[in-house]
C-alpha cells in the first residue's frame, strides 16, 4: 500500500485505534486535514481554540484511560495548545499532540507561523519529536503512543513539517506492530524483596495510613487498592487526583488530605507511624511544610517513576513498579503472612481517628436566603447519585468544594486539573468525556472566572450536540484569590472582583443551549432535576452563590498538617458548646 505522508499520519492513527481527534486546521496541517476529510474511521471534533483541543483530548484520556489525540497547526495553533499540554504533563495524562510545522527548508528562517514548538514544549512533555522524512512518520507515531501510554504516562508531541505530508510523495506503508526502544524500558513489577520489606513494616505498624494519588487511577489499580484496604483494615486518604479510588462511602476512607483536606485525614497523617504512599508524589499542596510532615512516620512509597521517590520526602522503603501488580503482590504477601497487622493497635488508632472525625470539619453554616456553594454541590450529589455520572471542574474554590462535598464512588469520575491548576480546563474536558461516553451524564462545575477562559467552546458543544450540564457557582469573585486576599492581605481584594459579567443564561441561549439562573436555595434541587432531565440539551445553570464563602478547613502554605484552620463557623459553634 503506497500512501502520502498525510495519509500515513491518518492511517497510523487509525491503526493505533484512535476514535477521536480534537483539532483546528491551519496552513501547515492542510494536507493532513485533506486526508482526514477522505476517511470515515476517525471523527474529528472542531474546537474553537486550540487550548480546548488539548483539554478535550485530556478529558477523554482521563475518563477512558486511552490516549487523547489533538491536531493543531504551526505557530499560534501550537502555542495555544501548550497550556493543555502542560496540564496533561503535570497530571501524567497520556496524550499525543500533532502540530503542523513550516516546510523543512523554511525551518529556522522565521517563516510565517513558525515557532520552535519542540523547543517550547520540551519541559512540559514526556517526549517530543520533529519528523524530518516521510519514511519516519509511521514509526514516530507508534513510538509516541508507546511512550505516552507506558510507564508514567504523559503527553508526547509530534511536530510535522508541511512538506513531509506532501500528497504527491507516496511511499509504502506499514504500521510497526511492536515498539522496542533501547533507551526506554518502563518497569512493570515491583521488586519482591522491597514488597516483603514493606509488608514487614505494615504488620508492625501501630498507626498506619494509606495515602494514594492519581497513580492509582491512572494505573487502573482501584480494585487492588480496595483489596489492600480490606485485608489490612488501614485508614486510607486520597489526594485531589486520587478521589474515587476507594468509594467515598467506605468507612475506612478519611476524605481528601492536604491544604483543603479533612481534619481526620491530615491529623492521621501527622500522628501516623507508617505512611504507605501509593501513586502519589508528595506535592506541596499535600505535604504542607516538609519539615513538619509526618514527623513520626516511616514511609513506604510505590511509584512507577523512580524520580518521584525521595524527591520531596525521604522514603524508607521505595518500590518502583506499576501500582497494579505491586498492590496485587503486596496483598498476596500479606495474606500468606502468619503475622497479621496488629489488631489491638489498629483499634486504638481508629478510636483516635473517630475522635478527629467527630469534629465534622466540613460543616458549614446553613442558609435559606443564599445558596451556599457547599450546598450546591451536596444537592448536585443528591440529584445525580444514581446516574452514570462524570464531574469535571475548573480551578478554584468550586473545585475544592466539589472535591470535598461530592462523594466519588468510582475511579475516573472526577476530572480536574490538579498539578497545573488550569482555569478553563473544565468545559473542554467535559466535551472529551461526553464524546467518549455519549450516554453518560457529564457535568462541569465551574466559576464565573474560569468558565470565561474557554467559554467559546459552547459553540463546539452546540455543533456536536453535547448535552453537558454546566453548573456555574457564581460568586462574582475569583473566589480562591479573594479568599487568600481576605486571609493574608488584610482584605485588599486586588483585581479579584469579576466585573462586567455577561448574563450567562442568555449567553448560553445565543449558542443554542438552555440557560438558567438560580438564586434561591429553595429552588435549587428542582432546577437541577429539571436540567438533568433534559437529556439532549446542554443546560447552563448560573447558580448565584454566597459571594464571600471560604473553603475550610485550610492549611496555610508553609504550615504543617497539624496547624489547620477550621471555619470560623465551626470554631464559634464549638465555643458555644
Amino acid at each position: 500500500m503506497e500512501l502520502s505522508g498525510a495519509e500515513i499520519v491518518v492511517q497510523a492513527l487509525i491503526d493505533e485505534g484512535v476514535e477521536y481527534i480534537w483539532g483546528y486546521p491551519g496552513g501547515a496541517v492542510l494536507h493532513i486535514y485533506d486526508a482526514l476529510f477522505q476517511q470515515k474511521k476517525i471523527r474529528h471534533i472542531l474546537v474553537r481554540h486550540e487550548q480546548a483541543a488539548t483539554h478535550a483530548a485530556d478529558g477523554y484520556a482521563r475518563a477512558t484511560g486511552k490516549p487523547g489525540v489533538a491536531l493543531v497547526t504551526s505557530g499560534p495553533g501550537a502555542t495555544n495548545a501548550v497550556t493543555g499540554i502542560a496540564t496533561a504533563y503535570m497530571d501524567s495524562i497520556p496524550m499525543v499532540v500533532l502540530t503542523g510545522q513550516v516546510p523543512t527548508p523554511f525551518i529556522g528562517s522565521d517563516a510565517f507561523q513558525e515557532v520552535d514548538i519542540t523547543g517550547i514544549t520540551r519541559p512540559c512533555v514526556k517526549h517530543n519529536f520533529l519528523i524530518k522524512r516521510v519514511e519516519d512518520i509511521a514509526e514516530t507515531i507508534a513510538k509516541a503512543f508507546y511512550i505516552a501510554t507506558t510507564g508514567r504516562p504523559g503527553p508526547v508531541l509530534i511536530d510535522i513539517p508541511k512538506d513531509v505530508t506532501d500528497p504527491n510523495v507516496r511511499i509504502p506503508y506499514e504500521y510497526p506492530r511492536k515498539i522496542s526502544m533501547r533507551s526506554y524500558k518502563p518497569v512493570e513489577k515491583g521488586h519482591p524483596k522491597q514488597i516483603r520489606k514493606a509488608v514487614d513494616l505494615m504488620v508492625k505498624a501501630q498507626r498506619p495510613v494509606i495515602y494514594t494519588g492519581g497513580g492509582v487511577i491512572l494505573g487502573d489499580a482501584s480494585e487492588e487498592l480496595r483489596k489492600l484496604v480490606e485485608v489490612t483494615g488501614f485508614p486510607v486518604t486520597h489526594t485531589l487526583m486520587g478521589l474515587g479510588a476507594v468509594p467515598a462511602s467506605d468507612k475506612r476512607f478519611l476524605g481528601m488530605l492536604g491544604m483543603h483536606g479533612t481534619y481526620e485525614a491530615n491529623m492521621a497523617m501527622h500522628e501516623s507511624d507508617l505512611i504507605i504512599a501509593i501513586g502519589a508524589r508528595f506535592d506541596d499542596r499535600v505535604t504542607g511544610k516538609l519539615a513538619s510532615f509526618c514527623p513520626h512516620a516511616q514511609v513506604i512509597h510505590v511509584d512507577v517513576d523512580p524520580a518521584s521517590i525521595s524527591k520531596n520526602v525521604k522514603v524508607d522503603v521505595p518500590i518502583v513498579g506499576q501500582v497494579k501488580p505491586v498492590l496485587r503482590d503486596m496483598v498476596k504477601v500479606l495474606k500468606e503472612r502468619k503475622t497479621k497487622p496488629d489488631a489491638a493497635a489498629l483499634k486504638a488508632w481508629w478510636q483516635r481517628i473517630e475522635g478527629w472525625r467527630a469534629v465534622e470539619c466540613l460543616k458549614y453554616p446553613p442558609s435559606d436566603k443564599v445558596i451556599k456553594p457547599q450546598f450546591a454541590i451536596e444537592t448536585l450529589y443528591k440529584v445525580t447519585r444514581r446516574r452514570d455520572f462524570y464531574l469535571t471542574s475548573d480551578v478554584g474554590q468550586h473545585q475544592m468544594f466539589a472535591a470535598q462535598f461530592y462523594p466519588f464512588e468510582k475511579p475516573r469520575r472526577w476530572i480536574n486539573s490538579g498539578g497545573l491548576g488550569t482555569m478553563g480546563f473544565g468545559l473542554p474536558a467535559a466535551m472529551g468525556v461526553q464524546q467518549a461516553f455519549p450516554k453518560a451524564t457529564v457535568a462541569c462545575v465551574t466559576g464565573e472566572a474560569s468558565i470565561q477562559m474557554c467559554i467559546q467552546e459552547l459553540a463546539t458543544c452546540s455543533q456536536y450536540k453535547l448535552p453537558l450540564k454546566i453548573i456555574l457557582l457564581n460568586n462574582g469573585y475569583m473566589g480562591m484569590v479573594r479568599q487568600w486576599q481576605e486571609l493574608f492581605y488584610e482584605g485588599r481584594y486586588s483585581h479579584s472582583y469579576v466585573d462586567a459579567l455577561p448574563d450567562f443564561a442568555a449567553l448560553a441561549e445565543t449558542y443554542g443551549h438552555v440557560g438558567m439562573t438560580i438564586e434561591d436555595p429553595g429552588d435549587l434541587e428542582a432546577a437541577y432535576k429539571e436540567a438533568f432531565g433534559m437529556k439532549d440539551r446542554l443546560v447552563f445553570m448560573n447558580v448565584l452563590v454566597d459571594p464571600e464563602e471560604n473553603v475550610y478547613p485550610m492549611i496555610e502554605a508553609g504550615k504543617g498538617h497539624h496547624e489547620m484552620h477550621m471555619s470560623p463557623y465551626l470554631t464559634a459553634e464549638r465555643e458555644l458548646a
Binding site: 520540551r122 519541559p123 517530543n128 520533529l130 533507551s183 526506554y184 523512580p306 525521595s310
Partner: protein, 163 residues
Amino acid sequence: MRHIISVLIENESGALARVAGLFAARGYNIESLTVAPTEDPTLSRMTLVTYGDERIIEQIIKQLNKLIDVVKLLDLSEGPHIERELMMVKVKAEKGMREELKRLADIFRANIIDVTATSYTIELTGHGHKLDAFLQAVPEETLIEVVRSGPLGISRGAKGLGL
C-alpha cells in the same frame, strides 16, 4: 559534593538541549558538559560535572535517566575513575620569556603546538588540578587566551560503559 557523570544518549537533534534544559529548569548546578559521538555513530557520550548534596545528585541522576533519549548513565564518582581535561593556552612569548615558558611547558609535560615570533600556544592534558596549577605557574601578564574542554572521565578496570 562534586560529581562526574557519564551519559550515553541517542545521537539525535535536541538530545543535548533536553539535558541542558533539564538542568536549567530544575535549578541544578552544571559546571561543565562535554559531548561527542561515540564509536557507534547513533550514540553520543556526554560527561558532565555537577555539584550538590546526596539528595540533589540522586534527583539529577533519576531525572537524567527519565529522559527518553538517555540510554545509559554512570556516576563515575561512585568508584575509582580517571579524569582528563584538555587545555590550550596562548601566551605572549617575547624575547627573554621564550626559554622560561618552554621550560615550564616541559615541567608540566605540555606541548607547544603553535609558535609565532611573539607567542606560543601550549597544549596540556591532565586532571583539572594540574591545569589549574599550570595556569598559576604561567606569569599572568603573558596570558592571551585559555580554552578548556571540561573533564572527560572513564572508570578504572576492565569493565566499560556500553550498551
